[in-house]
Amino acid sequence: MGRRTAQIVCTVFGIVLFLLFFSSDPRANQLSLRITNDYWQVIAAFALIVGTVSYLKANLVAISRGKETLFRVAGLAGLIVMPVLAYWWGTGGGSPFLWVFENVQAPMQATVFALLAFFVASASLRGFRARSVPATVLLLSAALILLSRTALDATSSSTLAAVSDWFRNYPSMAARRAILIGIGLGSLTTSLRVIVGIERTWLGGGK
């Protein structure tokens, strides 16, 4: 019964939103925005409670079993301390909340992001080995683009930049658009399967 109701709601809202997209009536846009923004925020707010409870539960269980205690305690401390700071002293300039955000959270995020530079280098090393003709073409194209983006090109000529732009705007863009067409068609058929009820995995599966 619950699943049937969910499927009916999904089908009705899917059809309504599809029709609203093609309407120029301002009330249609208003309705579309209300469904996609307001209703979504209500669902997300409740889901955040579910997420927080799940996070607490998973970490408390692990701590009680003595598994990976240190960073789990640090995670839980963050979960409790940040809302307390925001509640008592606010989130404005000079608040303890903002200080912790700027001096603890932001540097940690920047650290993880910085790892990307090393991972790009290690992945490139594996990916650009000239083992076959396509891999060699890939290696040469990558080298060309890399050189055109360095100071070396500025001292030589703009020919390298022009060739590099041609690579990016024609062969690369053509391949990208072909993939995008496939993704668009895939999105269309997946959405339709969900709306008409052929695909019910999102409800937990079953027919």
């Binding site: 309705l31 799940s54 991972f119 269309l188 995995t201 409800l203």
Partner: protein, 272 residues
């Protein structure tokens, strides 16, 4: 709810504005044709019987990857990426694949970890995985605590999943969904632990990273076809056939537009 109902009633009974946006008319026509093709191929018995999908190496490797994890007594990790929410067709497609993978991990008694950045996705994933375990007849093997919401922050999520991969050392890592800058961080970390990686995303930029760093990558529509391919459901497979028919139609349209553009450079009818 009352406000929304009122809006619907007023919009139907008092229509002073144009109902159809004429600028979107060509898109509407194209959408209707596409929907017609999808519905026909899905519900036509003949179409269902005749269709055999081509081999997709990334999907053929799914069972091997889970089998390998079972033999090595190591877990499987599945993550849908940071970029998506449950509204995206990519996330729905990812859930469909998750269902099939969870069924296999249940049968093989292999631990499945599912970290995510979105509590809505977590709730749906819990339901999908639980149902898969029940369907396979091993409901007692389901572990709710392994399906975790980790962080809504992009690099908080990346760090949490990276840590999980480093600590649990999964033998197979599935990265199927919407990924952004975290894609390469996760793929390279999984590579360092020696895991088989099967990835797929709708982001063309991240696809390049996955192709370089992962063992198998589902490109473009392969991610959306995976559900039918893995389950063997004829109705879903028939809708995959519709994608191919539409693709042929689009290629035909592009060829006609190119020829038309060469003959009459001033024409713009094909731009919509």
């Amino acid at each position: 709810m009352q406000g929304t109902l009122l809006l619907i009633i007023v919009a139907i009974t008092d229509p002073p504005h144009a109902w159809i946006d004429l600028a979107k008319l060509p898109t509407l026509l194209a959408a209707v044709v596409a929907l017609g093709v999808v519905l026909y191929t899905t519900y036509s018995k003949r179409s269902r019987e005749r269709f055999k999908p081509r081999e997709i190496s990334g999907l053929r490797a799914v069972e091997d990857a889970i089998g390998r994890a079972t033999e090595m007594a190591r877990p499987v990790l599945y993550t849908p990426g940071w970029g998506g929410d449950i509204q995206r067709p990519t996330t729905i497609a990812s859930m469909n694949i998750l269902s099939q993978i969870a069924e296999k991990t249940a049968q093989y008694d292999c631990t499945l970890y599912y970290p995510t950045h979105d509590p809505v996705i977590q709730s749906v994933a819990q339901e999908v995985i639980r149902e898969s375990y029940v369907r396979s007849g091993f409901a007692e093997r389901y572990r709710e605590e392994n399906i975790q919401f980790v962080s809504t922050s992009q690099f908080g999520y990346a760090a949490a999943v990276e840590g999980m991969i480093t600590r649990t050392k999964p033998a197979a890592v599935f990265m199927l969904g919407t990924f952004e800058a975290e894609s390469l961080i996760l793929a390279e970390t999984a590579n360092e632990t020696g895991a088989i990686q099967i990835a797929g995303t709708d982001s063309t930029i991240q696809l390049a990273f996955f192709i370089v760093a992962c063992d198998y990558t589902l490109i473009g529509e392969e991610l959306f076809a995976a559900s039918g391919y893995l389950s063997g459901d004829k109705a879903i497979l028939a809708s995959v056939r519709a994608q191919d028919i539409l693709k042929v139609g689009i290629v035909g349209f592009v060829v006609v537009a190119i020829v038309w553009g060469l003959v009459d450079p001033g024409s713009t009818w094909w731009r919509f």
